[in-house]
Amino acid sequence: MSTEIKRNNNRLAQKWESSEITLAGYAAQRHIPLGGTFELTPRCNLSCKMCYIRLDKRQMEPIGRERTAAEWIGLAKEAIKAGTLNLLLTGGEPLLREDFAEIYTALTMMGFVITLNTNATLITPEILKLFKKYPPTATNVTLYGANPQTYESICGNPEAFQATIRGLEMLTEVATALEVRTTFIRDNMHELDALREIANRYTKRFGINVTVNKAVRGACSDVENCRLTPVQMFDLAEANAEYYRLLNSETESALERNMETDNHVQARVYGFNLPPKIITCLAAKSMYWITWDGKMLPCGSFVSPYTVPFEEGFQQAWDRLPALFEDLSLPEECRKCEYANGRCSNCPAILQTETGSLHRISPYICEVAKERSRRFKTE
């Protein structure tokens, strides 16, 4: 390496470290696929009524096939070469795959920073042993209710509550950054304090998700009958924020995690003028999502367009992805809307999820933006 390049590297590294741009933003400016998701399966042992992704075997058949362990491991090697650092393993429930240990063990030796999403109900002694030996850097556990009744109402299985608690107890033995996450719908919206209390038995990190969108890619859910109204969404988020404010501790307050707000802010912070312009966050710029059947999408909320990394190779799939979105634009109503500059995230993926296209506006998204605007004005 020449001295000039060395100096240049040094300057770039310093620039990144001293700037407020995260490595993800820095990678986006260079079209490096820094953060990826492997959606290993759409299958899940729970049947949550608001789940956007779950499919059973019968539903999967006409869509495609789950990729094999060898295929995922091969693709991971290509992703490493292309520059992926952060890798999220998710599903469905990834631990439902019989070959999960084979895939996971191989990935842990490649140089990823691995995060695992799981409902924690399937953590066997063998899986615990594996995680104790090779821990994921971070583990996100979904907790849907504070008791068996709520689990029955949301997930169709009251016993899953105790199974989740057992899983969380086992995970306390693992050297992983544990986060408990709850998606709130009407069934569990009254359990905010109880859920946080349960989460805090195992970890200080408790993330709330109040935004629930319609199902994608062939999945079916009952979202419209169970998701929160915009008023309920912001009330709940505010109640959670208030809890952390009352702790009167900067350290504890920093733990407040609201995925709706966080994602929204992130989209604004990283609103680089990078192609494709329709996407306001880092998706297809430094982030990607690979579905269980092998489609590369900017994020998990998209349905199309997509590339096919298992067929064309990872690098080509990644390089082709932004151009597929280049000629797309939001509906004119969205572009001219008074909430377009910040009150609405103007997320094309959510629009596509809610309306089935990029050409129609979604009354639900508009209501959320309107409520956000109302709250923001009064603060």
Binding site: Q14, A27, R30, L34, L85
Partner: protein, 88 residues
Amino acid sequence: MRIKEGYLVREIADCHIVVPIGDRVIDFKGIMTLNDTGYFIWKCLSEDIAYAQLLSAILDEYEIDEATARADLDEFLEDARQNGVLEE
């Protein structure tokens, strides 16, 4: 002294990033980035090497005075100790 086994340095987006693999994830969380000098020192520490040899290698590689080299090296070693990547 040397860098413990179980770490990779990945060059991503023009940055050198230290990543733990396998069971090293137990000891090492977060991200350690290396600048140009840091990466040079890291490579020297992939095999057992004494402080004086390291200092001499830096002086051979860069046109800097001994006091500056020593300061850079001490800063790196302190950082490496704090991150628990050094075997002494």
